[in-house]
């Protein structure tokens, strides 16, 4: 198992390098120069040339990439061209927010998908099945921003601030700031609407997928055998059928992380959350190259690590799967 994990981690390196290279080249190929925004109306060609030199922006793109990699190897993620803040510091401040959002939105998705899929599969072609399928279709069709605005108008406006509309409260002990009040309750209140907005679309997708898997599994011989042996329906469904049906769903969950990161950009902007999504989009809009690289690096890394974890969970769901 350890060797497998190590091998996977080593294999991750070229993937991440390739992603960062593509992002690096793409960012420098699109129009826009951060130096213009940095100098503002004090812009002169001479000053611009000096700033470009300071940040190495006057060098060929591949040389710039090489410099960035060399610094990265020393643990230096660079400094934001516009704000002057160290990129790694900002990434570390924002990472927990987005991770929590993604994990909880996936939890919301599973909390909806698993019961809906089981009901749909066990009561196939009944009103319960049709309802679950219809809800799933609606969920897939609602974009995150629309679900978010609906939730916002309902819980923050119509229900007079039942849930906070925006911002973030950290979990106790995790706050990276000087002025901060950590609270589990306030944290949950802040993350609930964004997690639902982000998770609802995934829930719909997972419901459809899991229902199809469940339908397949409950028709297999070992389920019939379990029932014939007199096992109660609950363990048959939850222990024997669901576990096996979950394997393709878990694979898709891993792949969905990419969509969740994309969705986080929208949801974090809407709910004014200080996460990686807003960090990334602000960086792209401002052409803050160092910050964009930081964003690409951390999201690529998160994506491959989460998928590695997903792969490892297969053995928990199906003991026949072994890693070597």
């Amino acid at each position: 198992m350890r060797i497998y994990i190590l091998r996977r981690l080593v294999a991750v390196v070229p993937t991440i390098l390739m992603i960062t290279l593509v992002v690096f080249v793409m960012m420098r190929s699109i129009p826009g120069d951060p130096v213009v925004a940095l100098l503002g109306d004090a812009f002169t060609e001479e000053d611009a040339a000096k700033v470009r030199q300071e940040y190495g922006l006057d060098k060929p793109i591949l040389a710039q990439y090489g410099l960035w990699l060399a610094k990265l190897a020393q643990g230096d993620w660079g400094t934001s061209i516009l704000s002057g803040r160290p990129v790694l510091k900002d990434v570390l401040v924002r990472l927990p927010v987005t991770l929590e959002l993604i994990v909880l939105s996936m939890a919301v998705a599973l909390a909806i998908a698993i019961p809906a899929a089981i009901i749909g599969a066990l009561r196939q072609n009944t009103w319960a099945d049709y309802s679950a399928t219809t809800v799933a279709m609606i969920g897939v069709s609602i974009p995150e921003f629309f679900a978010g605005v609906l939730l916002l108008l309902m819980f923050s406006v119509a229900l007079h601030g039942t849930l906070p509309s925006s911002g973030w409260v950290y979990l106790p002990g995790t706050c990276p700031m000087v002025v901060c009040t950590g609270s589990v309750w306030a944290n949950m209140m802040h993350v609930l609407m964004p997690a639902i907005a982000l998770g609802i679309g995934r829930a719909a997708l997972l419901t459809r997928l899991l229902r199809a898997s469940m339908l397949e599994v409950i028709r297999t011989e070992y389920i019939t055998t379990a029932r014939a042996k007199g096992l109660a329906e609950k363990p048959v469904v939850l222990k024997h059928a669901l576990k096996n049906a979950l394997i393709p769903t878990v694979t898709v969950m891993g792949l969905q992380v990419g969509f969740l990161i994309g969705g986080a950009i929208v949801v974090e902007t809407l709910f004014a959350m200080p996460g990686l999504g807003t960090f990334g989009i602000d960086a792209i809009i401002a052409r803050d190259y160092q910050q964009v690289q930081g964003f690409a690096l951390i999201t690529a890394f998160a994506f491959v690590i989460i998928n590695l974890i997903v792969d490892l969970t297969y053995s928990l769901l199906d003991p026949r799967i072994r890693y070597a």
Partner: protein, 532 residues
Amino acid sequence: MRHPVRNAAVMIVIAMMLGGVTAAHAQKRGGALRVAYGNEIAGLDFHVTAGYEMIWVATNVGCGLLSITPEGKFIPDAAESWQISPDGLLYTFKLRNKVVFHDGTKVDAAAVKFNIDRIMDPATRSSVRTFYEAVHSVEVVDPLTVQIRLKHPYAFMLHMLAAYRMGLVLYSPAAIQKYSPEDRRAGKPEATISCGPFRLVEWVKGNQLVMDRFDKYFEPGLPYLDRVTIRTIKDPVTQMAAFKAGEIDFLVDFSVDHVDTLKAQNPNAQIMTGKETTPMVAMMKVTVPADGKPMSKNRAPHPIFSDLRVRKALGCYGIDRKEIVKLAFKGQATPWLGIIPPGTQDTVDVTSLCPYDPAKAKALLAEAGYGPQKPLTFELLTNTEKAVFNVIATVIKEQVARLGVTANIRLVDKVSWLNTATQDGPFDMYVEDLASLLVVDQNAYLAASTAAWNSARHTDTKVDDYFARYARELDPVKRKAIAKEFQEFSVENLYWNTISGSPFYQVAQPWMKGYTYQAEFKVIYKKVWLDR
């Protein structure tokens, strides 16, 4: 009553200000003000960083020599008095005795000299250096007396020190010497040391900015608030939800599109607006680089808009400003023309010189050689920063279509716009609202032929002469006459094509008291208190 809604809003502001005066005895001390900005703070070096969001921090963390009231009256800040020599070349400032920076060091004449010298040093790359062009030198007379010597008379020296951008902000020389420019830009609290009513506690970009009361602030009893916390909420829908839920006390810049909705949701909210000091422009490019290199001094005429007849056909007679204001601003702005907006000092309403007259516009286009045989097509650049830019661009497209002209809208993001419009990139016309302007002189850095941000890239030195004559004339009556002549000249030549004023809105909860609206220029919390 051309603009009933705007006038009513102005009345609210006036009533609120009067209310603030009558309730002067009831101020409560303490509490934290929760503020929301619509855009992220770019950086916190007050002498270098651009952007209003930074300015609205600087006006609270920083102090300067003097300040200005909404009525245009100069009031003391760190300087208790000042004198101007009869020839207008020597400004002598007497500093207050016990003003200290947040690090405990004294605000003295040497600190003032240090700061102005720093701004004027090209190595600082200060975004306000251009405003100090008239300054010859700064001299320390004694620890509490500083003199600024000018190269030539400059009628707006006090305006500049008080309010161009945020006015002069004094940094602690000790902090400047100890910390790097990156530390200041990044808002490191120990590097961002000034002498304002609040001291910077922390800035975590994308999260929050916190400033606390500075207990040794030189104005006794001020500020009232213990703390101000600023965060960014970009989406107006979320801003409204946060305001409705009482999570936010003050929205510093609120979208004009959503004012009516917010008003309906919050009947007791204080909705503040005032004179329109920002111009909404449809800028036409007059010259292009002859050698193809952006910003080149070797200029060639722009293929379309170098022809004054075309500029006048489209910018003057072919654009219906009233219709634009009605559709884009729901009537809550003033149709305007000329080189400065309606709320700027010495402005003159020259809009009547360009009445909407499609027939005249068509005739001018025909005279310039455009018509059914040779239809005119141009590119209309706009950006995604504000939805209203797009609406205006669309209305202009429709209006010029009535003249048989095709405007192809190119929508880009803000940075691409910035690069194209200000760096001599390829465009024909762009829609954008530009900087808030206190006086005509302030527009020199955007409109003079030598200005880096002369986005029309006109080369007419008469514009520079007007700016210079206006700025150096010390007699206000003569200055007003120059301003009028200049604005008429501007309409005649349309190097600068204003569409309207760009309204600015701020929204406060009913419990926020003591705030004075000063448009984009100054957002000051030192007299704010919370009545709850």
